[in-house]
Symmetry: C2
Subunit: 151 residues, 2 copies
């Protein structure tokens, strides 16, 4: 062992948490794509619908908070989902700045497929349920720390 040996000089891309997230996120996007293409949905549109299945009749701002995106991202997604007939947008009467989003029958019907898709994806991860739950909370905690330390 030479005395000048350098340990972990600059880590390769594979050792970086940023690349792990970057590449895994893209892989997940692609995995969903095969399930969503037949439904005519994109991955961000599907995630938006998932939030609405959980809580319908919310404002654009609430969706942004929940999905941690900007209005400049959410407004176009919601407009496309409206054009697809999966939701309606209605200005608030009390506060006319707000836009309330409501699922249509078509948008609610899509939830029927969701459970099957989720099960397929989880199977494809090759991670056991308990371990996956732990992974979700660890990744979420890390995300929240990053957000907090970046304010």
């Amino acid at each position: 062992m030479p005395p000048s040996e350098q340990i972990a000089e600059t880590p390769g891309v594979d050792q970086l948490i940023c690349f792990a997230l970057y590449s895994a996120s893209h892989a997940m996007n692609r995995a969903y794509k095969s399930h969503l293409a037949p439904l005519g949905l994109t991955y961000p549109q599907y995630i938006t619908l998932t939030a609405l299945w959980e809580a319908d009749g919310v404002t654009i701002g609430t969706l942004c908070t929940r999905l941690m995106t900007e209005t400049s991202t959410m407004t176009p997604i919601v407009k496309r989902l409206e054009q697809l007939g999966h939701l309606t947008r209605k200005r608030g009467t009390e506060d006319e700045r707000q836009v309330f989003v409501h699922l249509t029958k078509s948008g609610r019907k899509l939830q029927d497929e969701a459970d099957t898709i989720t099960r397929c994806i989880i199977a494809d991860t090759n991670v056991a349920h308990a371990k996956l739950d732990k992974l979700v909370s660890e990744i979420s905690a890390m995300r929240d720390s990053l957000i907090q330390n970046n304010q």
Copy 2:
């Protein structure tokens, strides 16, 4: 406890591994942004440079394999890094279809900042080193399973 109780009917967006990755990946992107903006780099450009610091003089195809992206993504990134003066693109002489990418002095110099940036980001995750290494390998393994089961 009613007999018809439904356990984990449809999971909320926060329980889904897809949303954990989606939101954490965006949070990571934003965290890097504050460090990269002064350098005039975007996050994907920085990741591409990281791959080049590890192995220089490679083809576009090798970069695509390494970073798990398509040429339609990588070609424009490499071209922008070329315009910024951080690398050069040279057609292969033996096989003229190939394009070899070489870092310039400017591109190599940027590595000086990398270690500091990585340390800041890791600190911001609030995850201990050993646990972070484990997280990286778990996320990477999951990514590889998703890719394998999606062929």
